[in-house]
Point group: C2
């Protein structure tokens, strides 16, 4: 692919006008929207309206007048179409980590005769850490990990819940949600999908797969801002029986009766915990609204095409990099990773030249394509800079080897 | 007290200029800063800077460049002086509810031979609900409540942790932190204080009382905005041994090594969980900064004087209201509550006339005085309107009896 060909693809892109909704800095090619989504142009104004109007003028009255109390359900319902859920099956609350914990403990308690959380080694760390914390909290449970390829046959009668990330944060490999969900349920286990690297970038059909539980992140493809609130999904059939260990007042059946006894809401609201940040919730709602009018099939097709083009360009021009991600776009998320022993320094050198991807320990350079605002010419230019950095060895500078707090 | 006398007190108030830091709406007397602190004038600009500069321009680089990664510890350290803690003993994370859970489960696990969380009936609901959830999660623990007056003698060898709110959300009654802490520790129990209605309004000396654990709210007197992140305190001596059940990656010793095994940070950072909202964190930091330059002794003295004046005025002019709160200002927080069978409707009628207090089920009218921005003339005018509403019966209108979602 030449730059001219890349520009022709952008010109023919049915999503090309969506890019204008985002504040992308001059001189930057942003290939990290899978880690932190870009700022929508409309978000600062929304934050001003919430801060000065709803909070400053409305004060406490805005819990009713501006439906702050309904925000968790309202924003959840807007995320639902991206994941094949019904509006009343999704709620926004807390962090992905906390939501994982809620659902893991709920699952262990719902299957008391089973003691295992089954996951894969190399899953996103917080998934494994929260599983560890959930098992430790409950006291007589454990976490077992087996490679994703062996998961289905590893599900035995001791598995209460299978915890997997749909699109792997490092490799970009996408698991077969339908097959694994069915296998887990056939063995009497529940399935919990982490959709953090999926939602807004690849097709997800929780209802179609009959999935039990899911969580996901608001600050990646949903553009909700750094540390945006997360969401969780509980299939309608489980809402009345699964209990959240984080039984806070926002999940109570009647929070403003101020009674002493905990009685969970009958519906998805029971998975709320404390009072949510209304500023953060508004930014997430605004981020999610950037998808209004998008053709979702075109979005997902573009994501796959960008990944294919990235692999082709890097393999053609950067022979020192080894592909980690699946070559088959239908088995891949919207990011592609390559192995190099000095991936960290190469990533820093790229950032210094305006190409923002990221490093994932120990040796992965990860390039992500948020299909709403990244085009083929962006990608072409980014790989061209990567080619130069590798060819002239300019990445091998002490300043690029010095580690930051956040890598 | 006459209006002229009230105005004289305001003129002599050493804190009078702090009021100008807040965006208080025209025509409103805001006596609910104990529920949701007012908007600081500087907060919208701070949010803009974080959104457009740090997020929009800096993108993922701001985790290092703008120290997003350090925000939880940095803001925690700024809250520490208000509660008699050392900077490394406080961290901002999650909600008050989630923080209660972390510390309750940590305490139960640290005292495995003890099975009781001891609290008081009528504690703020989420405290009791989270205690219920913590006991349920651990599996062989229970919550026991006895009236605060009987707490000390109720602490027996089965109590793992005593959970109390320092200033009661409804009555405003302040418990004796030193005495109860010592009593709990004498029986081998840990003490967990909820400071939500204390921090920024009344003196708190956790270190001076040798307190073990505490949590508190960011959106009341700290002015962090609706649903602001909360904080938690763990005495230095416990930081290496207590484990958080919400063992998310932000509390890991090396989160960016992306290892599979959970290893908690050695310090207070282990009580972080998932990625915090940076927008919400910035608003909290800005809210807290409004106290810069304040004479804390003068602040607390003003809080007590406002409460005393409120009781005197209401008892002089509103005989239908019965005081719920302690008359002794040294045993009271910065709000005062009165009982009336129609407190809900009276509260709504007041709001309609620009006096914002709040109702707490079943029959309390609560008036709060954020001493940074509420003055004696505000109070005088508010009670004068209350007097009129009661005297002319105008509160008894169907429109004031209709319940809102949030009361």
């Amino acid at each position: 692919m030449t730059l001219t060909e890349a520009e022709a693809l952008d010109a023919a892109d049915p999503l090309r006008e969506f890019r204008d909704r985002f504040a992308l800095p001059e001189g930057v090619i942003y290939l990290d929207g899978n880690s932190l989504g870009a700022l929508p142009h409309s978000t600062p104004a929304r934050l001003q309206a919430v801060a000065t109007g709803e909070w400053g003028e409305g004060l406490i009255r805005s819990w009713n007048a501006h439906d702050w109390i309904g925000a968790a359900r309202r924003v959840g319902a807007k995320i639902a179409p991206f994941i094949g859920a019904r509006p009343h099956e999704v709620v926004v609350a807390d962090s992905t980590s906390a939501n994982l914990y809620k659902l893991l403990v709920a699952a262990l308690k719902a299957r008391p005769e089973r003691k295992t959380i089954l996951s894969e080694p190399g899953n996103f760390p917080t998934d494994l850490y929260m599983a560890d914390g959930a098992a430790w909290s409950v006291g007589d449970a454990r976490v077992r990990t087996v490679p994703a390829a062996d998961i289905v046959e590893a599900i035995d009668d001791d598995v209460a819940v299978v915890l997997l990330t749909h699109v792997h944060y490092k490799s970009g490999a996408m698991l077969d949600m339908g097959r694994i969900t069915a296998a887990a349920q056939a063995k009497g286990a529940l399935i919990l999908w982490d959709l953090s690297h999926s939602v807004g970038a690849v097709p997800v059909d929780l209802n179609g797969c009959n999935a039990d539980l899911a969580v996901g992140c608001g600050y990646k493809y949903l553009n909700g801002g750094p540390g945006a609130p997360a969401f969780l999904y509980v299939a309608e059939r489980h809402q009345g029986t699964l209990r959240s260990p984080l039984s806070g007042w926002m999940g109570h059946a009647a929070p403003f009766d101020f009674g002493d006894d905990y009685a969970p809401a009958e519906d998805i609201s029971r998975f709320q915990c404390g009072t949510p940040s209304i500023l953060a919730m508004a930014a997430l709602e605004e981020g999610n609204a950037q998808f209004d009018g998008v053709d979702r099939a075109a979005l997902f097709a573009k994501s796959r095409a960008l990944g294919d083009a990235c692999i082709a360009l890097v393999e053609a021009h950067c022979p020192d990099l080894t592909l980690i991600s699946p070559r088959d776009a239908t088995r891949r998320g919207s990011h592609v990773s390559f192995r190099h022993p000095d991936a960290y320094a190469i990533c820093q050198a790229l950032i210094d030249r305006g190409v923002i991807g990221d490093f994932r320990a120990p040796d992965a350079l990860r390039l992500g394509f948020a299909p709403l605002y990244i085009g083929f010419a962006d990608l072409w230019r980014a790989v061209d800079i990567l080619r130069q950095v590798l060819a002239d060895g300019s990445w091998d500078d002490p300043k690029y080897h010095a580690r930051n707090a956040v890598t």
